[in-house]
Subunit: 302 residues, 2 copies
């Protein structure tokens, strides 16, 4: 483990130094770093101010002042949102888009400078190593936590999940045919909805429903295709088991379709055993069950 840690620390040190030159180019546009960053975050499609605030983790007064400065320079304009009169939407003007393009170009220049001293074969190796690092570091950046099942992102996740199983199940999927699971079933006290986010973007979900007899019924577990293969399914499952344990439940069970072979493998590896059908879910071919272990600490902090 120590050997790995040394490698990672060396990498961090080197990369921080390299990225420093990128930050400099951000600064060398003759504009304060904060302004440039905000302008870049607004982006060509515009953004809601509350969203910017959340994404960048900044004080509302500070953001407001930065926006006013950008407005004075004629780089952005703000208009009230159509759906909610309190929120304002910031959008780049033509001049703002020009500055955005400059900032964007700084990234290109950096990439170009990195590639410049390399031969074709080395470039190939560099980008594939970068992809590997990025992919393997994704797992660390994923944050799992309870969220309202009725939220917009939760609904998007569930929709993506439905679309995927509709494509994979032999006979498609229609939520109206399957066992109903409403938003309130996945909301305390009846249940709980967990979401996994990568840099704020939803990349997975899962729910447990508290049922009579100390049973946690696991449903709607899904991992986005772009983050598969990094153990996120296992972590989500552990997190759901941890939540079930916190609720004092004793057994966790679930049903799954025969098309989802990799999911079945994961359940078995996680200690689930196949049991006789415990419900009549139309789309289910296999039923699994596991005793919840209350003696072991719940999943590592997520």
């Amino acid at each position: 483990m120590d050997r790995y840690i040394d490698h990672i620390r060396r990498f961090n040190r080197a990369i921080t130094l390299r990225m420093g030159t990128l930050d400099d180019s951000f600064l060398n546009l003759g504009r304060p770093f904060g302004e440039a960053r905000l302008l870049y975050e607004i982006g060509p499609d515009g953004a809601e101010i509350r969203d910017l605030r959340a994404r960048m983790g900044l004080d509302s007064g500070y953001v407001s002042r930065l926006l006013r400065a950008l407005e004075r320079q004629g780089l952005i304009e703000t208009t009230p949102s159509e759906s909610d009169g309190r929120v304002r939407v910031a959008r780049l003007t033509a001049a703002g888009r020009a500055v955005y393009a400059d900032v964007d170009r700084a990234g290109d220049t950096f990439a170009h400078d990195v590639l410049a001293p390399l031969k074709a074969e080395e470039r190939e190796r560099l980008v594939s190593a970068m992809d590997e690092v990025e992919k393997l570091m994704r797992g660390f950046a994923v944050r799992i936590g309870p969220e309202p099942a009725g939220g917009a992102d939760a609904q998007t996740c569930l929709k993506d999940y439905f679309n995927e199983i509709a494509a994979r199940f032999d006979d498609g999927f229609d939520p109206a045919v399957g066992l109903a699971t409403g938003i309130d079933d996945m909301t305390p006290p009846k249940g709980l909805f967990l979401m996994a986010r990568l840099d704020g973007k939803p990349v997975g979900c899962g729910a447990i429903l508290a049922e009579p007899g100390g049973v946690a019924h696991l449903r709607r577990m899904w991992v986005a295709p772009e983050v598969r293969g990094i153990g996120l399914g296992r972590r989500l499952l552990e997190a759901l088991e941890g939540e079930a344990a916190k609720l004092g439940l004793e057994t966790i069970r679930l049903e799954t379709n025969k098309a989802l072979t990799e999911a079945q493998g994961m359940y078995r590896r996680a200690g689930y055993t196949e049991v006789a059908p415990f419900n009549d879910e139309h789309y289910a071919d296999h039923w699994f069950e596991k005793r919840i272990d209350h003696h072991v600490a719940p999943a590592s902090p997520v």
Copy 2:
């Protein structure tokens, strides 16, 4: 090329987000970032102030003030250097070492968190991909430029070079036996000394001596072992040729030992042809020469 650029930009974006959490931990020690960084740079072994200034690229007044602040907090103490009364050396006190350990731990924690969600085989892949990225990005960070041949770093470089060839040449190496090349020979107007630096650390050197008949005599070219295999030799050679061209010289020539096979390969690939001996350098087995092309732009900006 565009494909590569996209990969690099994606990598930058992802890594910047990940590293953000590392910077935060730097900050969350309840101390200004600049102070924490300086303290960390001083390190457990202490450092000369002029060195800190050069390494971090900061104003002397600013560094002085930061040091005073750290001193007031009882984290460091400064003493004049033994060898040069103008230079001061900063050293951590016991309290300072404790804070250093905290900052250091933040790096460990980060590394640990990155590794936590990975399986053994994935950890292996992550660190080797990191090493690959780090190595291939080194080339971009190397800066080549003229420096005084008499400077401390230049002398260190030359000493490393002498040690290496002493070990590799069949009959060792003694500078007193070889053709003399003094500091002033490598100093304008008689010649020029180039040094390659990676993050400020010297990693290569080379000199040209202006000789009668429009000849640039190339000597003392060396690349540190830790940065070999990334095309630095070729870049140094190009930079030296560029300097020779700027001086209006017409021919570049050099001699080399038979033990340095990879150097000979590089010279040939760069368009040098083997010629009859043009001097009686004791350690030389091969002599090379190349016409300097004044029509082509000098090497890409270094």
